[in-house]
Amino acid sequence: MSTPMGFGRMHRKEDARFIRGRGGYVDDVQLPGMLYGAVLRSPHAHAWIRSVDTAAAEAHPKVRAVITGATLAGLNLDWMPTLSADTQAVLATDKVRFQGQEVAFVVAEDRYSARDALELIDVDYEPLDPVIDARTALDEGAPVIRDDQEGRTDNRIFDWEAGDRAAADAVFARAEVTVSQDMLYPRVHPAPLETCGAVADFDKVTGKLTVWCPTQAPHAHRTLYAMVAGLPEHKIRVISPDIGGGFGGKVGIYPGYVCAIVGSIVTGRPVKWMEDRSENLMSTAFARDYHMRGEVAATRDGRIQAIRVKVLADHGAFNGTAQPSKFPAGFFHVFTGSYDIQAAHCEVTGVYTNKAPGGVAYACSFRITEAVYLVERMIDVLAAELGADPAELRMKNLLRPEQFPYTTPTGWEYDSGDYQKTLQLAMDMAGYDALRREQAEKRARGEPMGIGISFFTEAVGAGPRKHMDILGLGMADGAELRVHPTGKAVLRVSCQTQGQGHETTFAQIVAAELGISPDDVEVVHGDTDQTPFGLGTYGSRSTPVSGAATAMVARKVRERARQVASAMLEASPQDLEWSVGESGGAWTVAGTGASRTIQEIALAAHSNLELPDGVEGHLDATCVYNPPNLTYPFGAYICVVDVDPGTGQVKVRRFVAVDDCGNRINPMIVEGQVHGGLADGVGMALMQLMAFDEEGNHLGASFMDYLLPTALECPSWELGETVTPSPHHPIGAKGVGESATVGSPAAVVNAVIDALAPYGVRHADMPLTPAAVWRAIQGDPIRTDLAIT
């Protein structure tokens, strides 16, 4: 593969270190004199803490410090703000509110001793009744979980609505056909293979705090540490090293990070804390947990007229969802999806339960996953009611190209789309008609086979700062570009890769804009001392926001180069034309052959060349990109499954995915991200579940119980693409990281339900494990294996 001068397939720059085992993840950080921390966690979901006795732990010869909620209270650090402006206990002082909650922190000379010492801490708990099922959280007399909040008498976090209730109700009142379906998008966890952790190093002499931490949002972490701990922000350096997968789970600040920092301040030595897998699954950000009721009104010939949704959202013990502040239900209200629906209304109630906090983590684009699942399931429920083909029903109701830019009934402005083309391509690739014929033959033989479709529209690239902020921090991203005298460039960006390949794709953006090789562009990221401010990588926002900032800063450099070139060529800047030819980018005097390459200009910009007044010299530039709108990638997915009616086993036979994410910077990387998201979809639809028993014991706290798809559950993915550029993004790109995770679960579930249609099944909740499918076939699609989820 040769290196393109800009966009196109190229191998990743970051691979060289990873294939040699030379990546640098947080647990690889070794500092002289480093100590190790470990967290003591609550075995109860809900209990008073009567006392915490740390004497024996402190007496352990290898222990250097034991930190409790009381220690932190003395520093005013026992509670910290969450990303949703709630508060969360760093180490519990009054009560524990979920199983696995942080109670104490031990700092010792080595990993094993720190763990040993945890066993020496004696906590006296007085168990309380927990609230585990969100559906009972608002019951009269339900235990009040957040009695730390003054005046609180119940577990309600918020009531929120969007759309026009009266308009939707009016359409429903006179509709020819209405359907309704309850569904649960169960609690899942992104489970990146690297768990969370941190190394904190506080230098007492300089007052400088350095934190290595696999955070998706290093700058936001720095600012929050400054605000919460009262440390001066210029004395805090957050380094986000190589990250072993994030998927949203590494956006927030976890108590362990704060404890590591306090541990370093208290001991005067660097402290490393790494959670283990069960800690990761039990305490870090979960996703989904939406109990939804969808209703659709339509004409008898299948024209969808209105949609209503009611959601009960389980937010766990602290409202810690990482999402723009003004959107308590994230971007859930894009639930009209890809369809031309006149009226829509949704209401969402958020409640506290005795489960881990979190909420949007897991490649969900701020709850669009739930929204897409809801509407795509509802379309199939309607198709079943009408006896219509689900593909035809979608074709009939999809937005048409001439409707863009399109404003949804809940207020989103979709930037561009050409939906029918994308669905048609997916159907052609899948051989849709042939599949339906095969299905009919199989059904006649009693062999369940299903074909599931999902069409999604995403809203990514948060976001316009006048609408979107996190804890008051606007969601614009900075970029800095330096061009050295020899024409080599260094780009500094605020976002942080967790495997997305920014070191390659962002170099390609600069390369395309300046007409140089991506090999000549170094991308610096993940270190707050070395990069401009920005809000990080999640919600598929890196390309839409930081990628745009990169293109814009490169254009600034190009304009500065024009000024210098005009001095070199003794021509007016307006008479110069930019072009990128075989040999790279150059400014040329229009109508002549007189021309200077970007490298020649870079050297001249740093030389003794006489420059006109007002032209500074050098080419370096900075910019801040404030997106005018979100970008709206979309796609059509078709899944084919075979179901064994005897065992309930689902085999995903084929999966066709056509994605439209606008212009693709590096198609190889786009495809790789789609592959990963499709595997997530298969996992969520068929395997993954964070379940709890009535006492709040976590039933999915290891990879033996929380099942993730392996190479055997995944088919070979069949990908296609259409390209509808974003009209407002500088390079016409849209962001794709989460598309497949958002779009694919509905396709898999629709396929399984389609397979089960001969048994009269219209819906069953994820995950469609063999037991769940078997029960659905027996006429009992309600999950009974789990008391509660």
């Binding site: 191998h11 990743r12 970051e14 691979d15 060289a16 270190r17 990873f18 294939i19 040699r20 085992g21 030379r22 990546g23 640098g24 993840y25 647990d27 690889d28 070794q30 990993r111 094993y112 992104p190 489970a191 990146p192 293979l193 690297e194 768990t195 190589d242 990250i243 072993g244 997968g245 994030g246 998927f247 283990d276 897998r277 069960s278 967790q498 495997g499 997305q500 390949g501 190889m668 990387i669 495809e671 790789g672 991200q673 789609v674 592959h675 990963g676 998201g677 499709l678 595997a679 997530d680 290891s702 990879f703 033996m704 993730l708 392996t710 190479a711 055997l712 995944c714 070979s716 993915w717």
Partner: protein, 156 residues
């Protein structure tokens, strides 16, 4: 306990706690951080190394069990500045994203190709089925191993 372990051809003698896991011995004692750790239950496979040529999950082996044995880690794949074909294959076919599962996948792939130089897709999937990848959906890992099978002599 005093143990002597040969890692990537070099013998290391160390005093270790009997409970020390091989993965921590490699990472913390020898500084070979290419081998990762990812779960408590031997499910994820990011810790896979070869013990006397056979892939093992080094989180499930005590360092003392490696006494007198040969361990090969991802750092030992590159020979005399030449990347192993499986390493090249992962670059060629975009077989990695975050890179966390990659060392373990490479070690298993090397073992597979040593036993079966021409594995088909199903055999590759079977071979890596005890290891997880959260980023790639496995597609490009399978292709990467196939690339290595087809380019066993590749130099880079």
């Amino acid at each position: 306990m005093r143990i002597s372990v040969t890692v990537n051809g070099q013998t290391h003698v160390r005093d270790v706690e009997p409970r020390l896991l091989l993965v921590h011995f490699l990472r913390d004692e020898l500084g070979l951080t290419g081998t990762h750790w990812g779960c408590d239950t031997s499910n994820c496979g990011v810790c896979v190394v070869q013990l006397d040529g056979v892939p093992v999950k080094s989180c499930t082996v005590l360092a003392v069990m490696a006494d007198g044995h040969e361990v090969t880690t991802v750092e030992g794949l590159e020979k005399d500045g030449e990347l192993d074909p499986v390493q090249q294959g992962f670059v060629q076919c975009h077989g990695l994203q975050c890179g966390f599962c990659t060392p373990g996948m490479l070690m298993t792939a090397r073992w597979l190709l040593d036993r079966n130089p021409d594995p088909d897709e199903g055999e590759i999937r079977e071979a890596i089925s005890g290891q997880l990848c959260r980023c790639t959906g496995y597609e490009n890992i399978v292709r990467s191993v196939r690339w290595a099978a087809e380019n066993q002599e590749a130099k880079a």
